[in-house]
Structures are given as C-alpha cells and as structure tokens.
Symmetry: C2
Subunit: 188 residues, 2 copies
C-alpha cells in the first residue's frame, strides 16, 4: 500500500440525471451499500460515502449498517462488519469536502466515472498512475443515468467508460465499480 495514494469513494444519488437528462435524486439500492462496502474494503479504499439529500434514505442506510455493525449481523458475519465500518452516510458532495476540511486533510483530486464517451477521458493505465501519485483522491460513481454535468465539469480526472468486447455499454454501477477499482488498484 505504500505505493498508493489515499483513495475515497462516493456513491452519489444526487445530483444525478434521469433518462431524459433531468437532474434527479435516485433511490438508494440497499444491496449497493453492501457491494460497495465489500469492494472498497477489498481495494483498501479509506472511506466510502453514500450521498443522498433525503433524510429517510440516510436513516435507511444507517439502520442497515447498524444491523451489521452492532446488531445480530456483527456476530454472524465479522467480514461484513469489517466492510461496513468504512461507510459514511452524508447529504451532499459538498459535505464530503467539508469533512476533508474538518479533518485537516488535503483537498482531494476529484475523479469521476461515466458510461458516456467524452473528449479527454483518461484510460486506466494512466488513471492508475495518477491515483498512485495523488496523496488524496475522491472517486465518484453516479447512479440513475449518471452524474449531473455540474459534477462532471468539476472533475480533475474523467475515467473512460468500461466498454467490453463490442461496445455494449450497460453495466450495473456495482459491476462497473468492481472493474474500475480492480483496474486502478488491483494486483498486477
């Protein structure tokens, strides 16, 4: 781990776009919380932020986490407990930056992912080198039909979409995140 920068991940439910390109708040998929927590722990991600402005959705994630951190699940499955320990539920991307400032951390380099092609996207060999060289990076994954333009435009690094063999481009965010973290941080 000494040759890696510190990486945090956020799974973003607002601001995202829907099929028509309008800004929406997507619902939390509870399985995403598990899958992302396990994935982030596997690749030594420092913090996993679940971002939603909806208080009821934040309570849902907190209740789910509590079951595995202190409830029956903690004794039943210690690995799940260990994974969910890194989860932080938060109301906005801006609040993540506040969290970095509050803790006296450096402002992170902002990396975003998108299933859309775009000019100037960064490939994974280059992305891997950029993350290794950056002391602090925040990597955002959008839900619904992706992150809103206002977020994409703030990014320092925009990673290329995962395209597979013949251009079919419709992975779940869980599977896309797994592939992306493995390409950026997996054993080589």
């Amino acid at each position: 781990m000494t040759d890696m920068g510190r990486l945090s991940v956020a799974l973003v439910h607002h601001p995202c776009v829907n099929k028509e390109g309008r800004i929406v708040t997507t619902s939390v998929t509870t399985l995403d919380v598990h899958d992302f927590a396990r994935l982030c722990r596997t690749y030594a991600v420092a913090d996993l932020f679940i971002v939603t402005p909806l208080p009821a959705q934040r309570r849902l994630v907190e209740r789910l986490s509590a079951h595995w951190l202190t409830g029956f699940g903690a004794a039943c499955n210690p690995s799940r407990k260990e994974a969910l320990t890194g989860v932080k539920v938060i109301d906005s991307i801006e609040a993540i930056y506040d969290n970095y400032r509050f803790l006296g951390r450096k402002e992170p380099k902002l990396a975003v992912t998108s299933a859309q092609k775009g000019d100037g996207v960064t490939g994974y060999d280059e992305g891997r080198a950029l993350l290794a060289a950056s002391p602090e990076t925040l990597l955002l994954f959008g839900t619904g039909f992706g992150l809103a333009d206002e977020v994409m435009e703030r990014a320092d690094i925009r990673l290329a979409p995962i395209e597979g063999i013949d251009g079919f481009n419709h992975l779940s965010v869980r599977c896309a995140a797994a592939i992306i973290l493995d390409r950026l941080r997996g054993a080589r």
Copy 2:
C-alpha cells in the same frame, strides 16, 4: 472476438455449501440475474445459465426476464432486453451438459471460481490464455459459501480468488464475477 474461445457462464444455486460446509440450495437474488446478464453481454459471453433445481425459483427468473424481453421493460430499456436475451434458466449443471450435447457442441472445458485459496489455482494471465485457446469453456460461479466440492473436483481450471490489497476476501458474487470477466476477457 476472433482471438477468443466461446465462453458460457453459469450462476449456480445448487449444489452450493453454506457457512457450515453443508450442501444447500441457495435462493436466487433477482438483482444477480440483471447484473450477470449485463456483465455477460459486455464481455461477449455466449450463454448465461441460471441454475436452480427449485421450480418456483426458475419461474421467478422466467417471469422477471419476460418483463424485460416482451413486457413493458422491453420498450422502456432496449439494452436490458438485449442483455437478458442470453439468459437460460436450467435445473442442474448436468442439464447444461445435456444442452451442449443436444446442440451438437463440443464438451466444454470446465472452469470454476472460489473465494478459497487452494493448491494448483490458475492465475488470471494464464487463465486468459487458456480460455483464448479453448474453443468452448463453461465458467461456474457459486453462491452462498461457494460451489460444492463435487463440482470443484470436476473442474479443468480452478481460478485464483480475488484478494485485493491486503487479503480481505469477501466480495459479492456480482463484483467478483465482474472483476474475473474483465481480467479474462477485458481490453488490454
């Protein structure tokens, strides 16, 4: 795709083992069907078999697929329709072999995955080369606490577990499959 062998994937719900190592039939997780279908289409997997001996579980998967293949979902999301077209619901691993024989296909090389370490596991560079050289491969993913020994012992190729940075080993089958297919078939 000309430099790749034909690959099929099966998500196996029986025979699997539970936490105590006993043979069980696990429940289908409906989201797995979507995630695996999208993932398999991305990496040009020929067939995705969902294996369960329970008729009610097979009907569940067929009903779910029908919504996206011919129901409202087909018009709403053509990419999802395209992904789910490759899904075959089947009652046993043996029935997959019957399917190959019925269609006059070569007997596939059998590849298995496991989160457990074991002697003689195959790394991903070697696995990639083996799959490229094999005209027909069937890759099995177990659920619950993994595939039963009787299945593991039949395998021609046993792929190494995905271990990440420091040995934490508790990915979801969805995320593990995404990483494995990308390592075996992803763009290099």
